[in-house]
């Protein structure tokens, strides 16, 4: 082990030998004069020249583009979530309103890319496996966008490491983990949001590092520049995908730690100085990102000005701002004695009744009232028609006949001449809810049970009830239950129609209804109005109101994505790459795309994190016992620089444990980038006793410090080269799963099933088909 001994020997003298005498050399941490250092090995000195660094990054970038673009036209079919994001691009081009849980930036970029390559938005991306070529979709142009961003992530990762003061070879190591990672490649080649997210995330980290390095030159133009850049890219990350909010949190945590240090009395700063810093960060990292985030939504809403599939998610007042929206076109005030059809908002079934009665006894032994059935029915039918009967005196004509918020009404089923009622009898399927039935209109013995309170959503007192836009709850006057429905079918005796019952909790989501259509009206004006179809100008609504509504809906729906998915996986599986996602399969030729990472890179990353925690833990314990095994500057580098990567990793990872929505391994990719950075700095720590310092720009308040260099010797390039070859070989080996080509035989699939938990298709017989 004389080699190691030598290295340590050489390191010893270095700090003393190279006393930096002036600011200029302190600024250049990886400068050329390093090359002439007698104590550094030739290879290492050479690698750390700017030319060599540029060459390395150029090679990495070229390979990145090659890996991301190789056979990007295969498969020429809709793959996995392209179903969603491709569709959204079409909607932007067609300018039709859609709704999605993710913020719009990344999707806007897809729209832009589509427009750029001349796509007209005609294709609907209905199912996984639909052919692009048959439908003449310029999908390569769409896929090129994430592929470009995904490729550029590689040099950015390299640059982050370089800016943090690591040697070329270490920076290359981190970049290679991303470069030859099958998961990143697979995710970047398809019309998915993650490449954009990761690209902006790495830019955010890069800007923040640059900003932090200028901390001794505070409030200089460069300082402001990088601060604002951090804010901008952070906002872009956030606006790309909903989990980009975690990036905001990560930067927030780092900034708080930073501010806490500035606050420290020992630093000798005044409070005024602190507030200046505080306000600068508030402006750059809160105000600016908010403006950008809002602007993205503004653009989103400005583009999507036509009615589209997302209408139904929004409130009526929002819908009326969309051109051609049904509410805008067909919403009319409702008058007493109008005959209407009523639809359930959530499940889109009509309020329906027919002469058949509830059976006396249900399967579970409970007993009904044997009243006429009231059900939810999905199709148009004359049994869906109800007439609105007043319970107060009406004027002969005029606006007094309009039905208003908080009115008490009766609903008359036109075909059977019975009125809607509910009473204290358990509903067929839910013993806790009341049964809905009807009662002959001339029999007044149960008059009170047929009274319903009309409660419009978000209505002012006395507001008129309108068809389409007037969402309402129907509250039973004597028992206070709300007419409610849920997607559960009644048995055969009700022709498998949907159950409607009275729910005690009137605030339930399923208690909202609306009038779909005014079938017949006593009012001649309205009759005329119903006939004519004119093009109305959309109404206007304040942007902030629209934004607020949309944002709230996004959050609600995101939390509501709890349905189980066969390829969903828990966060604990992710760092160890225990399972992947089947994106696409084709029986012909046994081709498949399976999202799985390069196991060497992932395990190296997670190993790096474990070693880091181990090092710091051991250091803490040792310090507790009065020993200082790690020199201060090396320790500071580990805490501050690597600590930042760890924060990014942890903040992008641990919150998923608290989420109950369905989770996939691609949610780990941002954390994986951070863990690659951690792995690089840990490798540097392991290989060298010293670090490159100083890396921060010199400032007037700082005393010049000696320059030191990390010395990895020859073993570093050798190790990284071996690692790169191993990564590349494994990458090639798994690549048929990543690129979906060439097809594999069962035995080949089995060979690629490196962990037994990977659920690949077309596996050979002995393990059975999944």
């Amino acid at each position: 082990m004389s080699g190691v001994q030598d290295v340590r020997q050489r390191n010893k003298g270095k700090g003393i030998n190279r006393d930096a005498s002036g600011p200029s050399s302190a600024v250049d941490y990886d400068d050329h004069n390093v090359a002439y250092l007698p104590s550094r090995s030739y290879i290492e000195s050479f690698l750390n020249t700017e030319e060599a660094s540029a060459a390395v990054v150029a090679i990495l970038t070229i390979i990145a583009f090659f890996t991301r673009f190789y056979k990007i036209n295969h498969p020429d079919q809709v793959v996995f979530d392209e179903v969603h994001f491709g569709k959204f691009a079409s909607y932007y081009i067609r300018r039709e309103y859609y709704f999605d849980v993710h913020p719009p930036l990344a999707k806007l970029l897809f729209g832009l890319a589509g427009w750029f390559v001349g796509y007209d938005g005609h294709f609907d991306f209905e199912n996984i496996g639909d052919s692009y070529t048959e439908n003449h979709v310029p999908y390569v142009g769409l896929r090129a966008l994430p592929a470009i961003l995904g490729s550029l992530t590689v040099p950015i990762v390299y640059a982050i490491m370089k800016e943090c003061g690591y040697s070329t070879i270490i920076a290359a190591f981190s970049a290679i983990i991303i470069l030859f990672d099958n998961a990143h490649v697979a995710q970047s080649r398809l019309i998915l949001l993650d490449a954009t997210l990761i690209f902006f995330l790495s830019l955010t980290m890069y800007s923040y590092v640059r900003f932090k390095k200028l901390r001794y030159q505070e409030f200089s133009p460069q300082w402001w520049g990088w601060l604002l850049a951090t804010g901008t890219f952070m906002a872009c990350t956030w606006a790309s995908k909903v989990n980009g909010i975690l990036t905001v949190v990560a930067v927030g945590v780092a900034v708080l730690i930073d501010l806490w240090d500035i606050l420290d009395y020992k630093k000798g700063h005044s409070m005024q100085y602190f507030w200046k810093h505080f306000i600068a960060r508030a402006a750059g990292l809160i105000a600016l990102p908010l403006v950008i985030y809002l602007s993205v939504f503004w653009v989103h809403l400005a583009i999507l000005s036509n009615t589209g599939p997302g209408d139904a998610f929004m409130s009526p007042s929002f819908q009326e701002t969309l051109r051609g929206n049904e509410l805008l076109m067909k919403s009319h005030e409702i008058r007493y004695y109008d005959t209407v059809t009523i639809k359930h908002k959530d499940t889109q079934v009509y309020l329906h009744s027919h002469p058949e009665r509830y059976p006396l006894k249900y399967d579970d032994g409970r007993i009904s009232s044997q009243g006429q059935q009231v059900t939810g029915y999905g199709h148009e039918d004359s049994n869906n028609q109800w007439q609105i009967i007043p319970t107060k005196a009406l004027p002969e004509t005029g606006r007094g006949r309009i039905v208003r918020h908080e009115d008490v009404i009766q609903l008359l089923h036109v075909n059977t001449g019975t009125v809607l009622m509910t009473h204290d009898v358990a509903s067929p399927l839910m013993a806790t809810n009341e049964e809905f039935t009807t009662w002959p209109k001339d029999d007044h013995s149960r008059y009170n049970d047929t009274l319903f309170h009309l409660r419009l959503s978000d209505a002012a007192p006395g507001e008129a009830w309108k068809s389409k836009s007037g969402h309402f709850r129907l509250i039973h006057v004597p028992t206070k239950v709300a007419m409610w429905s849920h997607p559960t079918q009644l048995p055969d005796w009700a022709f498998k129609q949907q159950e409607i019952n009275g729910n005690k909790n009137a605030n339930e989501k399923g208690a909202v209804w609306y009038v779909n259509e005014i079938v017949d009206s006593q009012d001649p004006d309205l009759k005329a109005k119903l006939e004519e179809v004119e093009m109305k100008e959309p109404k206007r609504l304040n942007f902030f109101k629209k934004f607020g509504e949309l944002q709230l809906l996004m959050l609600q729906h995101n939390a509501g994505l709890t349905a189980s998915h066969p390829y969903a996986s828990g966060p604990i599986n992710w760092p160890f790459l225990l399972s992947g996602i089947s994106f696409w399969t084709q029986n012909e030729g046994q081709k498949q795309i399976y999202l799985i990472g390069n196991i060497i890179g992932w395990w190296a990353s997670v190993g790096g994190i474990c070693i880091y925690i181990g090092i710091l833990g051991a250091d803490l314990l040792a310090r507790r016992r009065g020993l200082e095994p790690i020199p201060d500057d090396v320790r500071n580098r580990l805490w501050n620089s690597t600590g930042f990567f760890i924060i990014v990793w942890a903040v992008h990872y641990f919150p998923f444990y608290l989420m109950s929505r369905q989770l996939f391994i691609h949610h780990y990719l941002p954390s994986h980038v951070a863990s690659a950075l951690v792995a690089g700095s840990v490798l540097s720590f392991v290989l060298s006793e010293t670090i490159n310092t100083p890396v921060s720009a010199w400032g007037p308040s700082v005393k010049p410090r000696p320059t030191t260099y990390a010395d990895h010797g020859v073993k570093a390039p050798v190790m990284v080269a071996v690692f790169a070859i191993a990564m590349f070989s494994l990458y090639l080996f798994i690549s048929p799963l990543t690129y979906g080509t060439p097809g594999l035989t069962g035995e080949q699939v089995n060979a690629r099933r490196l962990l037994s938990s990977w659920t690949l298709h077309f596996a050979a017989k002995e393990s059975g088909n999944i």
Partner: protein, 827 residues
């Protein structure tokens, strides 16, 4: 039938009120018949609840030291906190010199460095006169008065409602099982329920009542006496609260506040007055915190007798609280965090010899890990010893365990299993159940008949061992064909005649395994019904080579699907509601010979042609039973997830608790019933929660000021502020947060242990800002203290009916609904 007869009574379920049993009991299909209980045996045991903590210890400080938290040299504005009886002490003594220049000065050598917690005082000299004795023990007078008051609140009209209230339906029933000594199964550990049994025994109850929810107690059930015994634990909470506050070093007024809040919280009062586990859970939670604070005050007297005693008491207390309900693990975690911090400090003490370091570690491991585990296991040992008769919970346990229960007929089963035998098959994995099938079908996958693992005995667990298709059915006259290793069999479900079947369709939960279903009938079937019997070994005869014929109970078997090569397995994966939350059975593709979840044994065995066996069974080892039962409890606990299709008006979400958004109707709400409503005293709950938020803000402000070098407090004050704050905050957090991420259904009473810590936090903050502050005059302190005490009392008095029981129509009790979300009135 007229509609009126089938009316659903929404507001007032006067008939049988729902209890949480709708959730807490395991679901199973309606057609299953329950096993009957046969009352047998009597009870004999020796467990005595510990009471040491309540006994005042002779060297307790006199009252003055309790309020000496921040005594400073001459009080600035006459705001000195000392009262009459410490005229012995000169006013100018200093906090770091708490011995003072008094008669005790000679004992000073015993004093260690001053830290957080109660200030130490040397033991008093032996009293020479009665006057001195009284003088020395004056400090115990307030807790005695509070205890007497607690007796009144806890016992007042305790037998007013003669009906089974709420979960008395469970815990009373479990108590009966102890008296009848019948084995039952429940998700909670046994200590609390054994104490219920003991209460029954002491009050002369014979265990014959089955505690139907809402039913009136018959003459012979001494429910009042039982409730009184349970309520005694609730009484003990009050002095414990007082002494804990004393040990935490709070001023005397703050101690009064803590005691008043514990005394006057309606929820704690209400829950203590019935035959429930909560009073015991609360009691042991309180003792744990008390012992911990007591131990903390011994920190500079390591390895002294007191130090060892309180460390050991903390351990025992942890063991007890965990043996009542698993919720006790949260307070255990608090002690764990405290210990880790303590050891971390010790680890940094470079002057401490390594030998002492090791002793410190050893003491913690011994007293806080080993001792609680021993207590926990001892409670199970006692549980098994008492319940030595067959009962409703049998099927949860291994076959060998059941065979040793009195009244079990396994011993007379035929020994050798043959073709044509009717058997039940028991999974041998931890917590395993019986192979089961019922007419309901899978709604996913093949849509064939479900096969599950079930933990209760019924005839749907019975299977016939039949030969392959085409082979002759076992001939009733011909030679008996015994089952042997390697035989290929069909398993025919006795009740539905379908055959156990597997096919390459993913199982419903464990998607990577094949689904197992029941398919066909007596004549229809295919080769997918074939299972190869593989003998693993025999518990009695040892290795596989010694096993010629397969014996019931002792032979461990595996079933390999002949076509697919997969193994029949049941590993505690719970099916959704459509499978009645029973355990999934699947066929595992990988062959793991060591996986006990693929091991099965024949449990019951019927075959008329074979001689009845008469075997002496091997005892099932205790550790095995212990572990088996704990896994089963865990599995059932995980199955208690809220059913989205069933609205439970009793359940609440953790977010509803801190600000008391919801209460809980504990019984039927009819006009002629005595009604109890579980709801805290609002001011206590609101103040506690607010103080937690305030504590975080205050901490942030102090930290920022420290970062700027403002010295707000002396080091000891700061230590004290942080120490009590940490106990209160982490105690609260650890008892609250886990419920947020827990999947199981939660009720408002889960917050009751948590409440204690918010009460401590409130008293601590009032103490910090007012009662020990130098800024306020004595008069102000009196006013604040008086106002707080009065508010707490007045609020309790206003709501006392909720716990003492309300008669008549509920809507006539005016002014109880302070929040609209409380469903206290019928509307």
């Amino acid at each position: 039938m007229k509609p009126a007869d089938v009316a659903l009574n929404f507001g007032t379920p006067s008939g049988s009120p729902r209890t949480s049993s709708d959730f807490e009991e395991l679901n199973y299909p309606h057609h299953h018949t329950a096993t009957s209980n046969s009352p047998t045996g009597s009870l004999g045991w020796t467990a005595v609840p510990r009471r040491e903590e309540e006994l005042p210890l002779p060297h307790y400080m006199s009252e003055d030291t309790a309020r000496r938290r921040v005594p400073r040299a001459p009080a600035v504005d006459g705001g000195e906190t000392f009262v009459a009886q410490d005229e012995k002490h000169p006013m100018d003594y200093d906090v770091y010199d708490d011995g003072g220049k008094d008669v005790y000065a000679k004992m000073k050598a015993a004093r260690g460095p001053v830290g957080s917690g109660r200030l130490r005082r040397p033991p008093a000299p032996p009293p020479t006169t009665v006057g001195e004795l009284i003088q020395q023990n004056l400090e115990h007078i307030p807790p005695i008065i509070y205890t007497l008051l607690a007796c009144w609140t806890r016992f007042h009209k305790i037998g007013k409602s003669g009906n089974v209230i709420w979960d008395e339906a469970h815990f009373g029933k479990f108590g009966s099982h102890y008296l009848k000594r019948e084995f039952y199964f429940d998700v909670h550990p046994p200590l609390g329920k054994m104490l219920v049994g003991l209460a029954g025994l002491l009050s002369g109850y014979d265990g014959s009542f089955d505690f139907k929810s809402g039913e009136a107690y018959p003459e012979h059930v001494p429910y009042t006496a039982m409730r009184v015994i349970m309520a005694t634990f609730g009484v003990a909470m009050v002095p414990l609260g007082w002494y804990t506050a004393v040990e935490l070093g709070m001023s005397w007024r703050a101690c009064h506040l803590v005691a008043l809040m514990v005394l006057f919280d309606v929820a704690w009062l209400c829950i203590s007055r019935f035959i429930l586990l909560d009073s015991m859970l609360l009691f042991f939670t309180f003792t744990t915190v008390f012992c911990l604070s007591k131990f903390h005050n011994q920190q500079y007297h390591s390895f002294s007798f007191d130090w060892w005693m309180w460390l050991a008491m903390t351990g025992i207390s942890i063991g007890c609280v965990t043996s009542v309900k698993w919720v006790g693990l949260f307070v255990t975690a608090l002690v764990g965090l405290y210990t880790i911090e303590d050891l971390w400090d010790k680890f940094g003490d470079l002057k401490m010899p390594v030998r002492d370091q090791i002793r410190h570690w050893g003491a913690r491991i011994g007293c806080l890990i080993v001792l609680p585990i021993l207590v926990y296991m001892a409670s199970f040992k006692l549980h098994f010893l008492i319940l030595n008769h067959s009962g409703p919970g049998d099927a949860q346990m291994s076959s060998l365990f059941q065979a040793n229960l009195v009244g079990n007929d396994f011993a007379s089963n035929p020994l050798d299993v043959a073709f044509g035998s009717k058997v039940t098959l028991k999974n041998m994995g931890w917590g395993g159940g019986l192979l089961h099938s019922h007419v309901q079908t899978y709604p996913v996958g093949s849509n064939q008949q479900q096969v599950t693992c079930y933990h209760y005995k019924d005839e749907n667990n019975d299977w016939y061992i039949t030969p392959r298709w085409g082979e002759p059915e076992p001939d009733a006259e011909g030679p008996i064909r015994f089952l042997q290793d390697g035989d290929v069999i069909r398993l025919r479900h006795a009740a539905t005649t379908r055959n156990l079947h597997s096919h390459p369709i993913p199982a419903p939960v464990t998607k990577l395994n094949h689904e197992v279903s029941c398919y066909g009938n007596l004549t229809i079937g295919d080769e997918h019904d074939y299972w190869v019997v593989e003998v693993v070994d025999d518990i009695k005869r040892g290795k596989k080579n010694n096993v010629d014929k397969i014996h019931s109970l002792t032979t461990r078997l595996r079933f390999r699907h002949q076509v697919l090569g997969c193994y029949l397995r049941a590993a505690n994966a719970i099916l959704p509601q459509w499978g009645f939350k029973q355990v999934e059975v699947s066929c595992e593709k990988e062959n793991n010979p060591g996986d006990v979840h693929t091991y099965w044994n024949v449990e019951s065995h019927w075959n008329d042609r074979l001689p009845r066996g008469n075997t002496k069974f091997y005892r099932s080892p205790f550790l095995r039973d212990f572990w088996h039962l704990n896994v089963a409890m865990m599995t059932s606990n995980n199955a208690l997830i809220p059913d989205p299709d069933k609205e439970d008006i009793l359940a609440s979400k953790p977010l509803d608790w801190p600000f008391l958004r919801l209460g809980l109707r504990m019984c039927g709400w009819g006009d002629n019933q005595t009604k109890y409503y579980l709801l805290g005293t609002p001011v206590i709950w609101w103040a506690g929660t607010t103080s937690l938020v305030v504590s975080l803000l205050v901490l942030a402000v102090y930290l920022i000021r420290m970062q700027r070098r403002y010295a707000d407090m002396e080091p000891r004050e700061w230590d004290h502020f942080i120490y009590v704050g940490k106990i209160a905050f982490f105690g609260w957090f650890l008892h609250y947060f886990p419920f947020m991420i827990m999947g199981r259904v939660t009720y408002v009473h889960h917050y009751l242990p948590t409440l204690y810590f918010s009460v401590l936090m409130f008293a601590h903050l009032v103490d910090h800002f007012v009662l020990t502050s130098k800024r306020f005059s004595e008069k102000t302190k009196w006013i604040v203290f008086g106002a707080l005490s009065f508010t707490i009392f007045a609020c309790f008095w206003w709501f006392r009916g909720l716990a003492f029981g309300m008669d008549g129509p509920i809507n006539e009790h005016w002014g109880l609904r302070w929040r609209r979300s409380w469903n206290i009135y019928n509307d």
